[in-house]
């Protein structure tokens, strides 16, 4: 075997591996799109087809009514609205409260800093299910509606995360910046919101994005707190409990259409912000 053929074979093998990986990661998504474009009759065809085909003559036959059904499904629309409200509020609140704390932890000197840092770090791994019953009781005691309950309880995972990541960003900013601002007569708080905060805007976007996605995807709390309040359900719960407008059978065509509708905005976010997301995801991990 000459060296050239060897290189060629390695190349072909390499690309084969790449293709296998890509197919593995994308196939379930493809299957969902495929199924969302099939009617009930097409879905029941055996064996299932890799493209939407007509049951009678096997020609290509795309069925779009699942999508119109999804957009007429009031529960799903309400779910979308609830999800936006909950995820946006959680993100904004966590960023505001979290960056206050992060500024203190990253740039100020005070007693009890180390324990506070450990507290925040350990909170990032706090298991939600451990507080489920207790949190439910707190919410009932406070008399909160389901939507504010979700916003508050989602901070269990968004707040420690934003605080932790923002702290490391604040730490990275040069201390001279603060000192020169102080010499100019700025109070520490002025330094914080006039000088440091604008500098951390990119970090805010990254952490905010990740907090948003986590809040958007949350299921356990949403399911629990909306048990008796179906009108407050978020999208993941709506999809998990999806029932069709008409059929009693589980309408998988519509469920798949709903799944695609929910996923597409997330994919757009990922496409636009992929570098930021990767940076944010790996920020905590790689430093060790």
């Amino acid at each position: 075997m000459t060296k050239d053929t060897q290189i060629l074979i390695t190349r072909i093998l390499f690309w084969l591996v790449i293709i296998v990986i890509a197919v593995y990661l994308l196939f379930p998504f493809y299957w969902a799109i495929n199924s969302s474009l099939k009617s009930e009759a097409q879905l029941q065809m055996t064996p299932g087809t890799y493209l939407p085909r007509s049951p009678s003559d096997g020609s290509l036959d795309v069925y779009l009514r699942n999508y119109s059904a999804v957009f007429q499904n009031q529960r799903f629309i309400t779910g979308l609205k609830n999800s936006v409200i909950v995820a946006v509020s959680t993100t904004v609140l966590s960023l505001v409260i979290g960056s206050f704390a992060a500024f203190a932890l990253g740039k100020l000197r005070f007693r009890g800093k180390e324990p506070s840092l450990y507290l925040i770090l350990s909170m990032t791994m706090f298991p939600q299910v451990a507080v489920l019953a207790g949190l439910y009781a707190v919410i009932r005691r406070l008399g909160l509606d389901p939507i504010p309950s979700m916003i508050l309880s989602y901070m269990l995972f968004t707040l420690p995360f934003t605080t932790w990541v923002m702290t490391s960003f604040f730490e990275g900013l040069p201390t001279e910046l603060m000192q020169s601002a102080q010499v100019d007569g700025a109070t520490p708080f002025q330094t914080f919101y006039m000088i440091l905060l604008p500098l951390t805007l990119p970090a805010l976007v990254t952490t905010g994005l990740l907090a948003f996605i986590n809040a958007w995807n949350e299921y356990l709390f949403a399911l629990t707190f909306t048990t008796i309040a179906p009108q407050a359900r978020t999208v993941p719960v709506a999809i998990a409990l999806f029932t069709g407008q008409v059929s009693f059978q589980e309408p998988f065509g519509e469920i798949m259409a709903a799944a695609i509708v929910v996923t597409v905005p997330l994919l757009v976010l990922v496409l636009i912000f992929q570098q930021k997301i990767v940076a944010g995801l790996t920020a905590g991990a790689v430093k060790g």
Binding site: L25, I97, L132, A133, P188, L220, L223, A259, T263, L267
Partner: protein, 369 residues
């Protein structure tokens, strides 16, 4: 109120210079900035955790007017109660001999239920096993929860192992220079970005028990099965199905973490290895793996602690057919209205996670030396 009137006691430190006044102001500001975070954490984490611990020792029920009774550790005894008993062979009353199956010659045993204790709590059969000619039965006061612990731990070990191996493979491939690497990164984010509720339903549909489902088509094309495998009902397929869903969903995350770690390894190390004549495989074992170890450890901790509390997939796809620890606690709370009992299950989960965390941190601490 009256404290305002008391003049502040000048400490020697504060007197020293104006700098300590500044330092004091800084400290005060720090506490003020931390306060909102601490309050939120207290309200949604510590207080609820405390009440979960407390309730786990009561028979409290949801939406019940009855005053809860303090019952000590009874919930735990019920959740974790486990016992092993010997099952006697059936004896023929006339001959006094052991009854054997006339066809196979195997010993007939009594029903395991007869040997399991009924007081103070009733044990049910978890499984039986044979040691030689002696048969034993493992009984549990709450077989569902014991099974849930076992299933969750098995799920965790297998998923994390598979994710690490696959994730490392993907990271190594994507780390090399090639056209379309940026595209590949986007592709890797797809499973991660999809809500677990959504991906669970996608896979639920792929696992359908007729050849309308992708896996039944695939298996039949490969000459396996009848095309009617009930993946989500068949006991032996349920866990593999859950594992497949979770591995697909989280491997990319693992790969991205490992990729970031790979990119921190300086290229000249490989050049040096090339000069020394080390082959690719050798380079992987002697350069890549040791340098990647801290990243792998962190990723392992993240993923393990995450996998133990798995909820979404189990609840959506299997519902009450088979439990993870978290879905069990959920159903006891919401369907069973058993707040005390569910809380005890939560506490058990909390300690199992803590156990894993401590073990890991120990291991990491040792490896950092």
């Amino acid at each position: 109120m009256s404290e305002d009137a008391v003049p502040p006691v000048p400490t020697s430190r504060a007197r020293k210079s104006g700098i300590s006044d500044l330092a004091k102001a800084e400290e005060r500001l720090a506490y003020m900035l931390l306060l909102p975070t601490l309050i939120v954490i207290f309200v949604i984490a510590f207080y609820p955790l405390g009440s979960v611990f407390y309730n786990s020792m009561t028979d409290r029920r949801f939406a019940s007017a009855q005053e809860p009774q303090f019952i000590g550790l009874q919930n735990y005894a019920n959740l974790l109660g486990i016992t092993v008993r010997q099952v006697p062979a059936e004896i023929d009353e006339e001959t006094g001999e052991i009854v054997r199956d006339p066809d196979t010659g195997e010993i007939d045993y009594e029903s395991p239920v007869t040997v399991l204790p009924r007081e103070p709590r009733r044990y049910r059969e978890l499984r039986t096993f044979n040691l030689g000619d002696t048969r034993y039965v493992v009984g549990a006061a709450d077989p569902d929860f014991i099974r849930a612990i076992w299933d969750t731990v098995a799920f965790t070990v297998v998923t994390v192992a598979l994710e690490t191996i696959l994730g490392l493979g993907i990271a190594l491939v994507v780390n090399s220079e090639f056209k379309g690497r940026g595209m590949m990164r986007v592709v890797m984010l797809v499973p991660w970005a999809i809500p677990t509720a959504v991906s669970s339903r996608m896979w639920e549909w792929m696992f359908k028990d007729t050849r309308a489902g992708f896996f039944n088509i695939l298996f039949q094309d490969l000459g396996l099965g009848t095309g009617q495998i009930p993946f989500l009902v068949d006991q032996s397929w349920q866990l593999p199905a859950m594992i497949a869903i979770d591995v697909w969903k989280t491997t990319p995350f693992m790969a991205l973490l490992l990729l970031a770690g790979l990119q921190l390894i300086p290229g000249d190390l490989y050049e040096a290895a090339d000069v020394d004549g080390a082959g690719r495989l050798r380079q992987f074992w002697s350069v890549t793996l040791p340098l990647l170890r801290p990243t792998i450890s962190v990723a392992l901790v993240f993923r393990t602690l995450d996998a133990i509390r798995v909820f979404d997939v189990f609840q959506i796809v299997l519902q009450k057919k088979r439990y993870s620890m978290a879905t069990y606690a959920y159903y006891e709370l919401i369907d069973g209205q058993l707040m005390g009992y569910s809380s005890a299950a939560s506490v058990v989960i909390f300690f199992i996670i803590l156990l894993f965390a401590v073990v890991y941190i120990r291991m990491l601490g040792v490896s950092n030396d």
